[in-house]
Symmetry: C2
Subunit: 304 residues, 2 copies
Amino acid sequence: MSAAATGRATAERPIADLSRLSLNTATTKAWTLEQAVEGAVRAGLPALGLWRDRVAEAGLEQAATLVRDAGLRVSSLCRGGFLTAADDAGIAAALEDNRAAIVEAATIGTRELVMVVGGLPAATGPNSPASADADRDLVAARQRVEDRISELAPFAEEHGVRIVLEALHPIFAADRAVLSTLGQCLDMAEPFPAQTVGVVVDTYHVWWDPDLRRQIARAGETGRLASYQVCDWNLPLADDPLLSRGFMGDGFIDFPTITRWVAETGYAGDVEVEIFNQQIWDAPGDETIATMAERYTRLVQPYL
Amino acid sequence: MSAAATGRATAERPIADLSRLSLNTATTKAWTLEQAVEGAVRAGLPALGLWRDRVAEAGLEQAATLVRDAGLRVSSLCRGGFLTAADDAGIAAALEDNRAAIVEAATIGTRELVMVVGGLPAATGPNSPASADADRDLVAARQRVEDRISELAPFAEEHGVRIVLEALHPIFAADRAVLSTLGQCLDMAEPFPAQTVGVVVDTYHVWWDPDLRRQIARAGETGRLASYQVCDWNLPLADDPLLSRGFMGDGFIDFPTITRWVAETGYAGDVEVEIFNQQIWDAPGDETIATMAERYTRLVQPYL
């Protein structure tokens, strides 16, 4: 009798348990929200992580209905943030956009709004040269993020939404996010209630951190672990380093170990797969989901 | 009367004080050791940071004579390391190579041997794909580095040489160095005497670290701050990210702030400029030194 027939897993062919696997819509970038919903349902996935662009295309109310009617959970909304502007107009625009994102999260049916907090004022664009005379004061930029979070927290709380701070890999500290470690995110979250400001562990961004185990435990103890996102650190880096994310198993990350650390906290939420990678984007979505489910089943789920 | 004539600096044209500026020979890669010695002397620099390849080309004893006769200090020797091998042959080879590097440092006239500790066993080369089945255990790789340092420390002490642990930017954690933060290096150094195991602050690698000020202070307090290396974090990243290092001022790093933190420790050593950048390597060496001295004089020296 085969392992599948007996219901027992083998090392070669574990029984798929996808009950916590969430497809982030960035992974199947070519798909509309409707296609992503259908694809997730076809593959037996219970949840989606949504990007705001896909939600906006579909229309917010329609998107909420679409996902709800399909019986899917929304594991997170990506993304708010870009809070480092130093000028009044930039600050006002950032607050307005983030209040909109908070309303969108509540409407679409998730508590968790992931925040990419923005880079230095000297940044002229993603992976682009520094502006010659602009501000390189990293300490001050981080303080502005903290100030904006303070201003947004009451609004988030009113709407039952959590601001989820994302540490981005230090490769992005200049141009995309001045929050670089999980510990730093937890320090920033500390003054706020756990249900209002949380953190996400995204393996791509934090796998290298010598303090990772301790900070994951701290996120768990403080009730702030809002999301676990998995994808691999691939080399060589893509021309746009943001697109170097890969399927679990294709890069250098030790998923069993990090997943065990997450599981030790008692984290019971979904595991989102969020991959930016041109080659994967060019492949058929169903194929992408199949590979992602296979890798998850082998490298992540057994350690949850 | 001009500012230069009065001996007073202006914001536009500070008086050059190059008395602590060291040229790392990697910055003028096209030059032989002899050319680098002559170039440094021509520019009025007091010190060189040496790479082992340039020393080997010249011959160890000849290199020592050459540098000493020119009246130059040797601020550091780069580099030992690559200590993460897990197999007996790899461990033995690493120990042998690092003992040779320790002898070279003592002979060439520096106490400071900079160590790039090596990446994961799964690394197949710099910026290269992961080996499918090889070891991704980052925790174990870091432990092996600690074990090798323990084995090398007595030999270094006998030779009056300090093992200088270098945290590399987390972009290199997979393929080049599993030490990623200054705090981690200081933790690893702690069991050893300060004159035997130290750390280097290389702005390119650590500028993003939210804990940087505190760890620089700790390096100072514990007497382990062995070297201060400066160059900038340029974007876009080069195809080989190692070559994205730039002249101070061309990228995103806040040199006045970090230099003040280093100065607050009482650090009185040389400031090495170590830049890997193809465009700079293609330029005439004297021009490179002139630009480096101008940037140092404007962005680093006033804050020392």
